[in-house]
Amino acid sequence: MSIGTHFSYAVTVFLMVAGLFIVIARGNLIKKLVGLAIFQTSVYLLYIVPGKLIGGTAPILDDRFKLYSNPLPHVLILTAIVVGVATLALGLALAVRIREAYDTIEEDDILARDVDDCGADRQGK
């Protein structure tokens, strides 16, 4: 079992971990979303790669084709891509609204202002 024979899995896992790392390590809301998108994309590979056989075609019933690739993962991932796009769009829309409300998209600054807001609440303004 070497990297060579499992190249696609190595790429998948690298993207997965890199994406998740960006989400956790970056404080910028847009960069976090980029990380999230990379993380989701790695899963597309996880599904697609095992479904593809080298030299395989779509399952067409004909004498000329002997080797078929499984089309189901493609269909599933088409759905997952739609979900990913929707999530990214919603996340970006929220980031725009957050910038309008807080005038920053750095998580630390926003949380500091939230703490101020909570302090103001507590005094019962």
């Binding site: 989701q40 996880l46 979900v83 919603l90 609204r97 609440d121």
Partner: protein, 494 residues
């Protein structure tokens, strides 16, 4: 073909269709009528399905007549019909409430969008529960999650935006973990149908990809159900969301995730794999105990009533997962009963707090001092709900605690029974904070001018409060269904 045969499809399709209709009519009143009618129809469908599975029957429905395991199957059994009942029932009660409550919280021109999002959220939650297809679970999960992010972001406070963003990040990580788990299972079994998958898993049982799938699914679903310490998103989301949304999500979203966890553990992996190959019961037990104590302790020190009860939710979810960790019929029964009892109790509490927020303008404890003089019905309802959280006899919460303690004693773990009672004392402390503020302080001059919440808010909330009391005394429906479902789940696993 009679309509009764298509009930499983209608359960999801009716709320699904009502969402675009609500957007098309573009008027708040019409959208309200459409979505409320759809939620009541969904509730009626859920009751019919629940009655249909009374004798332990399983209703299987092939979507588009594509036979399972190739097509998508909708599968209703005792457990899923019970959860469908909870979700659609809560929607049917929360929607009439939301009409009065969102007047103050959301600009009028956005009301029709609120109803559309609510309908989509309901669709997603019902879909997760009813479907028998692993990938379909993910799709419905994202439908409900995306719409709940929008619903939370509709809150008045700017912190609602950040709460929604954090929930989006955490929720998407959770959902992606779930897809990874499902992907690994699909690689190993070549099927997405849950029942078919369970049969095929027997051959590849303890292999590493299957164990990895189990781990990914457990972590992903635990993020969604806010298992301690993966609950960070929950407190802000419940605190800053509009009142009706807090109530609906608190009562249903985490419960449906627990349902998914139970479904994967017992119906797909089977208990021998889940509870013997991996130290999951021990991990579950420790995290549940941490939730029961740490989250309850944090709840005591909150300054905002909504946030206080949000942390209490994390603690109560701890009781549910504690029941799972016993791996016995009694433990599972306790979990499923508490699923229902906590949904009703927390729904009632958040609806009542919504009434207080509408009248007072905020839920910080300092503003609520002397609330009982001004809003006696709301305050008394919150106290009754609090008693159910504590588990006082005569309330629904007592029934769940009773079965939990029975399950602990059955295993000979008397110290766990003591821990359950001790953590209930923490619940006494946080409920007492409200009692002290509301009953033993003078209302401020400003508060004294306010009135009791309008009937549109009080009636739905009190329906739930009385449900809490009713199911504390009459348990044949809740415990009966839960015991049936538990026996059925463990019967399959063995």
């Amino acid at each position: 073909m009679s309509i009764a045969l298509h009930l499983p499809a209608l359960q999801v399709v009716i709320p699904l269709v009502s969402a675009p209709l609500a957007v098309l009519v573009r008027r708040a009143d019409a959208a309200f009528l459409i979505v409320t009618a759809a939620s009541w129809a969904a509730f009626a469908t859920a009751i019919a399905l629940w009655l249909g599975t009374g004798d332990g029957a399983t209703i299987s429905y092939a979507i588009g007549n594509w036979q399972p395991p190739w097509g998508i199957e909708y599968r209703v059994d005792r457990l899923s019909s019970f959860v469908l009942l909870i979700v659609s029932g809560m929607a049917a009660i929360t929607l009439p409430y939301s009409r009065t409550s969102i007047e103050r919280e959301i600009p009028h021109e956005q009301h029709y969008l609120f109803y559309a999002m609510f309908a989509l959220c309901l669709t997603g939650l019902l879909g997760i529960t009813i479907t028998g297809d692993a990938f379909n679970i993910f799709v419905f999960l994202e439908i409900s999650s995306l719409s709940s992010y929008v619903l939370i972001a509709l809150g008045r406070d700017r912190r609602a935006l950040m709460a929604s963003y954090q929930y989006l990040v955490m929720g998407t990580i959770g959902a992606t973990f779930i897809v990874i788990g499902i992907g690994l299972l699909y690689l190993m079994t070549g099927t997405l149908n849950l029942a078919d998958m369970a049969g095929r898993l027997a051959q590849v049982g303890g292999t590493r990809p299957v164990l990895a799938a189990l781990a990914f699914l457990t972590v992903g679903i635990s993020l969604k159900l806010a298992l301690y310490p993966l609950h960070q998103w929950l407190a802000n989301a419940y605190t800053y969301a509009p009142s009706a949304v807090s109530a609906f999500l608190a009562a249903t979203a985490t419960k449906v995730s627990i349902y998914v966890l139970i479904r994967f553990y017992y119906s797909v992996f089977g208990e021998s794999l889940v509870f013997e190959k991996l130290p999951l019961p021990e991990i579950m037990l420790l995290l549940s105990l941490a939730a029961m104590f740490a989250a309850s302790a944090v709840a005591i020190f909150q300054h905002d009533l909504k946030r206080l009860f949000a942390y209490s939710s994390v603690a109560q979810i701890g009781y549910i997962t504690l029941g799972l960790s016993f791996d016995s019929v009694t433990g599972l029964t306790a979990s499923i009963v508490h699923l229902f009892n906590h949904a009703v109790t927390k729904g009632a509490l958040f609806l009542l707090i919504g009434g207080a927020v509408a009248a007072v303008g905020g839920a910080t404890l300092s503003r609520l001092s002397g609330l009982a003089r001004v809003m006696p019905l709301t305050s008394f309802g919150i106290v009754l709900g609090g008693l159910s959280l504590i588990g006082v006899p005569g309330t629904a919460g007592f029934i769940s605690k009773w079965y939990l303690i029975l399950a602990a004693l059955e295993k000979g773990q008397w110290w766990l029974a003591i821990a359950i009672v001790a953590s209930s004392l923490l619940a006494v402390a946080y409920v007492w904070r409200f009692v002290e503020v509301a009953y033993f302080r003078e209302p401020s001059a400003d508060l004294a001018t306010r009135r009791e919440a309008p009937l549109g808010l009080l009636v739905p909330a009190w329906i739930l409060v009385s449900t809490t009391l009713y199911f504390g005394l009459e348990t044949s429906v809740t415990v009966g269904s839960a015991a049936n479902a538990a026996a059925m789940l463990l019967g399959i696993g063995k």
